[in-house]
């Protein structure tokens, strides 16, 4: 705005300058004109007075010849057009006319120089003392206007040159200002583009980082999970046999009994560790139930005090109207206990532990950058006033076996249990820590979908979303017990249910009943096709078919990069009645919303 004004001001100044120059030029011309005429008048008057004074004797002594000589002498001046001398009676005494046919006044009265066109005329008396001997009349041409204009042309030229310079300067200045403005704008645009680019790069880097981390965790999970699973079975064998030894009193020797008891303790500890590994690998069987995290936290207060000791204060800040979540309460307690133990270790005896709960919404950008689904979550934040972590430690803290503690003190499996459990519960965990400033670990648990007032859940008879007869479900499960269980549950909820034990019969059933809206299938199926392939085949027949997979742990067949395809959902075994009811209901609702939003053919 300001710069724009400056360009305008420059133009105005240039215009004013040109105007001034023109005015000054006109002024000079006018002044010259006036002073030229004045000078000319003075000149012609002087000439006539000279003649008047020289012609006195000629007039006095009536010497026309002498008078004519004087007159002719004056005529040498080429500008003089006519000269006349009159005697006292006004009679012409001597005369000269340049063009020969010049009309001279017969007698003329004395007058000051007067301009008549381009001719200046004057009459002066010829006096001798008090006597007037006659008069002299003189006519002189002044430069014609064209000649005078020629003289002024140089002024006009100068003025126009100066004006031109002014205008050019003004234009140049304006151009410069405009160019500057353009450059400035381009600079701003460039800086903005650069900023955008940097922001995009940073965003992509953080997303890629999160993805890499998730994949790494996934890979570790598979590795540890596989080992832990086998290991667990082996421990089961060891423990079972040790128990048999003890129960059957096969060992009479006290010494030997002590040794067996010790072996049992070791095997049990090993079993605990493998439980944690399974947790990290998200392969521990969970028992998610609707629960109120505030109540759970309050219920842990004794346990926490015992674990942390007297010197550490525990403070809880619990949000009112906290949403319901559906998680495994024992595992959540384990997770919080793990966090509390880490906090105790970090605080070296004294300090403060704060547990906070809140309802939060994870928006799209945060969700994308953190490999979590956006939406509503219940947050539990555990903060301590301990030593904190460096960014390098923070980055690795969730990994199994990562510990900074001495051998025997730390196993590196505490935070990995937290991570695995939260992930298995479709939640999200995040560490905020600064060395010296303490640590906060935030756990996000998804809000229980469709949960009504908490009290009814607390009573134990959750009001579950009912099914509808027009919502037909195809259940495919090779384990007969599980299938019967699921079919009974869904029927009880009010859905129409078809069942199949393998992919082939499922396909046949689907062709006979194309109005099936939801496929509920185990991932692992006997025969040629697994659950995933069955789902693909059916979705080719009906792209809008909703698919709900269920599985013990083999997630990879359905999960890509930690994400499920749209219209595909997953429920892990063992699932509760409520979890299934909510899941199926939510899926139908979602499908109908998308179907309604889709353009009509």
């Amino acid at each position: 705005m300001l710069r724009f004004d400056r360009a305008n001001v420059m133009t105005a100044i240039a215009a004013a300058g040109v105007l001034l120059l023109l005015l000054a030029g006109a002024g000079i011309v006018m002044y010259n004109e006036v002073s030229y005429k004045e000078a000319k008048a003075q000149q012609v008057e002087a000439q006539s007075r000279v003649l008047a004074s020289t012609v006195t004797a000629a007039l006095a002594f009536d010497d026309r010849k002498a008078a004519r000589e004087y007159v002719n002498a004056l005529a040498v001046d080429p500008q003089i057009q006519a000269v006349a001398v009159y005697d006292a009676r006004g009679h012409l005494f001597a005369a000269y006319a340049r063009d020969g046919e010049h009309a001279l006044p017969a007698a003329t009265a004395v007058s000051d120089p007067r301009l008549d066109g381009d001719v200046l005329k004057v009459t002066v008396p010829v006096a001798q003392g008090r006597n007037t001997l006659g008069s002299v009349y003189l006519e002189t041409a002044i430069d014609p206007i064209s000649r005078r204009l020629e003289r002024y042309a140089i002024i006009a030229l100068l003025v126009s040159m100066a004006s031109l310079i002014f205008v050019l300067l003004g234009l140049a200045q304006r151009r410069l200002a405009e160019a500057n403005e353009r450059l400035r704008r381009q600079g701003i645009d460039l800086a903005e583009a650069n900023e955008n680019l940097l922001a995009q790069i940073a965003q992509r880097e953080s997303v890629e980082g999160a993805l890499r981390q998730a994949q790494k965790m996934e890979a570790m999970g598979q590795l540890t999970g596989g080992i832990a699973h086998d290991f667990n079975n082996l421990l089961q064998v060891i423990l079972g046999n040790l128990e048999l030894l003890q129960r059957r009193k096969l060992v009479a020797d006290d010494e030997a009994n002590r040794m067996v008891a010790s072996a049992v303790r070791g095997a049990e500890r090993a079993a605990t560790l493998t439980q944690r590994l399974l947790a990290f690998a998200r392969r521990q069987p969970l028992d998610p139930r609707p629960l109120d995290v505030n109540k759970l936290v309050q219920g842990m207060s004794d346990l926490l005090h015992r674990s942390l000791g007297e010197a550490i204060r525990v403070e809880t800040v619990l949000a009112g109207g906290i949403w319901r979540v559906a998680v495994d309460a024992n595992q959540l307690e384990n997770a919080l206990l793990n966090l509390a133990v880490n906090a105790r270790d970090a605080m070296a005896g004294t300090g403060k532990l704060t547990i906070e709960t809140a309802n939060v919404h994870l928006d799209e950008p945060y969700a994308q950058a953190n490999e979590v689904r956006p939406g509503q979550y219940v947050m539990i934040a555990v903060s301590d006033s301990g030593s904190g972590m460096t960014p390098e430690v923070t980055a690795k803290a969730f990994e199994p076996f990562f510990t900074t503690k001495d051998v025997g003190k730390g196993s590196g499996l505490g935070l990995s249990q937290v991570y695995g459990f939260i992930k298995q519960s479709e939640g999200h965990a995040k560490i905020y820590s600064e060395p010296g400033d303490g640590t906060t670990v935030k756990l996000y648990l998804p809000r229980l979908a469709g949960a009504a007032s908490g009290e009814r859940v607390a009573v134990g008879a959750p009001a579950l979303p009912a099914g509808r007869e027009d919502r037909r479900i195809l259940v495919v499960e090779d384990d007969e017990d599980v299938r019967t269980h699921a079919v009974t549950m869904l029927k009880e909820l009010g859905y129409t249910v078809l069942e199949a034990a393998d992919a082939e019969s499922a396909l046949r059933l689907f062709d006979a009943h194309p109005d099936v809206r939801l496929l509920f299938t185990d991932v692992g199926l006997p025969g040629g096709r697994n659950g995933r392939e069955l789902a693909d085949a059916l979705r080719r027949r009906n792209p809008e078919l909703a698919v709900l997979f269920t599985t013990g742990y083999a997630r990879n067949a359905i999960v890509h990069h930690g994400r499920l395809d749209p219209g595909v959902d997953l429920i892990t075994k063992p699932f509760t009645f409520a979890a299934l009811a909510n899941k199926v209901h939510a899926m139908f609702e979602r499908c109908e919303v998308t179907a309604r939003e889709a353009p009509q053919p």
């Binding site: 004797a57 006095a60 009536d62 009679h91 046919e101 009309a103 017969a106 003392g129």
Partner: protein, 176 residues
């Protein structure tokens, strides 16, 4: 039209100044009589000649001739600058103070008069004198009254003659 106009003026000029030959002889003498006082503005008398602006300019006339008779008539009503004009006819031998002296005498009498006024601030005027002429001597040329000026005589009488007058002179006798 213009040409005819100029021709008319030329004719008029001719008529207004007719040559003397076409006039009566006393016109020539009348002209000479007026010339006497008309000379005055072109002559510088030595300082102290006139004591005040109202001092008369005295024109003396010595002797008798046609011009002398007309002088009184010619100066009537005239003045030279602020000075009134007085005409004095000199008796023989009288020495009245004069500014201009017209010598009508001839021969030796004129020479004697000239000699008498020699060195005095008097403008001596003679008419058609071949020898023994005054400072100004009237002559007739081309039928017009002209005059000769003797600068030597003027200097002897302490008079300065204006160059304007000298320009009109038919002849100027320079100082030696």
């Amino acid at each position: 039209m213009r040409r005819r106009c100029v021709a008319f003026f030329a004719a008029l000029c001719g008529m207004l100044a007719p040559p003397l030959a076409a006039q009566a002889p006393n016109v020539e003498y009348a002209v000479k009589a007026t010339y006497l006082y008309k000379l005055a503005p072109f002559v510088d008398w030595p300082a102290g000649t006139f004591t005040g602006p109202a001092d008369p300019l005295v024109i003396c006339v010595a002797g008798e001739d046609e011009v002398a008779d007309l002088v009184d008539e010619a100066v009537k009503g005239q003045s030279v600058g602020s000075h009134p004009i007085a005409v004095v006819h000199l008796a023989a031998g009288a020495t009245t103070p004069c500014n201009i002296l017209y010598l009508a005498e001839r021969g030796n009498a004129r020479a004697a008069m000239l000699e008498r006024f020699r060195g005095m601030p008097v403008l001596t005027v003679t008419d058609n004198a071949a020898a023994a002429h005054g400072i100004v001597n009237f002559v007739v040329q081309d039928n017009r009254v002209r005059f000769e000026i003797d600068l030597n005589a003027a200097a002897a009488n302490h008079l300065t003659i204006s160059s304007k007058l000298l320009n009109l002179a038919a002849r100027v006798l320079p100082r030696p």
